[in-house]
Amino acid sequence: MGALAELAGDEKNGEGSRTFVFTNEGHTLGNALKTIIARYPEVDFVGYTIPHPTEQKLHFRIQSHRERAIDLLKRGLEDLEALCDHTIDTFQTEMNNFNATTTVENT
């Protein structure tokens, strides 16, 4: 697929600083991922930008001096995935409970 790439220019800065380029992504994933990665104590800086509104590209910057940027990105994605799983589970159980109670009321 090749939707994820790295921006050149960080070769001298070690493995902690990288700008990742997501193609076909926008604020939906960018901001959600940013808020999660920003809350890791290992991270010095995280931010994202969409350089041009008509280009479907998301630049995602991570800086850390304790961990590799790619590992932090992966951890962020895994946490966001787990968050989604848990949201689906919680929502589904609540929906089932709700449907059960309302059908009882209607009969």
């Binding site: 994820l4 994933l29 959600a32 809350r39 689906i88 929502f91 929906m95 709700f98």
Partner: protein, 332 residues
Amino acid sequence: MPKTSQQPLLYMEEYRVKQDPQDYGLADEVFNIDIFKQKLKVTIVRNDEEGLEFDLIGVYPAIANAFRRLMLSEVPSMAIEKVYIYNNTSIIQDEVLAHRMGLLPLKADPRLFTYRTEESPENGTEQDTLEYELKVKCTRRKDASKDQSTFDEIYKNHKVFSGHLKWLPKGKQGQIYTESSVGCIHEDILIAQLRPGHEMDLRLIAVKGLGKDHAKFSPVATAYYRLLPLIKLNREVSGKDAYLLQSCFSPGVIGIDENENAYVKDARYDSGSRNVYRYSHLADAVTLARVRDHYIFTVESVGALKPEVIFIEAVKVLKKKCRSFIDEIEAE
């Protein structure tokens, strides 16, 4: 302050929004999935013809906003994408007519179809395409007498409705679906008006698509969230002032008891108006606030998918995005 840790508040003062001085949650809370699991709560409030209302409690603004954005523009649905116009002698122009056809909501469940790809043939396959036809011709009613004057009495087919659309099963589709499971949701959408001699003969192709490509593919009519309002009365308000206070808020928010004392009945459906601050003698009586992490979602479906399904599909889309990028990182 144990109270704020349970319900982080944002105060709405007369000229500004103030954070709770004890609340640092937005700025430097460490993210941990286990803490998130403890905090997240979902409550279903209402699920009827008007839509689904549920509370999502304990999430970051970005997460709530991601879910909203996903529902609007990244959950697929089926819509008419191509219109072959064999004949159109009505006064509505071909391109306008084609656009109107595209906006018709279809009942077809998008989860049962695939996206059209570059490889799929020009006319599509039975997995990715639905076909319809619209053949209407307006004629004069022969039996109408001279003193009849309404269009319904003198013309036949002078109004084209979405109900005139006929589904053409492709391949084995006829065995799997029925007209009512893939056709138009509403039969009474007025498409055009005709006069005797006017005719329409169209073939319509519906495909699966995303709201970010065109709004007609959006599965929701509206999907929005707001923060739970909280109103506190700091002192007793009674008599005339109680009624004045009541008029400052949305109906049903402030109640008045038998002693003519005002009390907060239900702040949930308050509009968040700061009208009270116009009355200097009432301004100190109330504290207006919103609960920072309590999102009230309202989802109204167009009709193809139930609102609860749309929400779950939206979260699944985000999950799939994450998964595909994780896989890509691991493959390197």
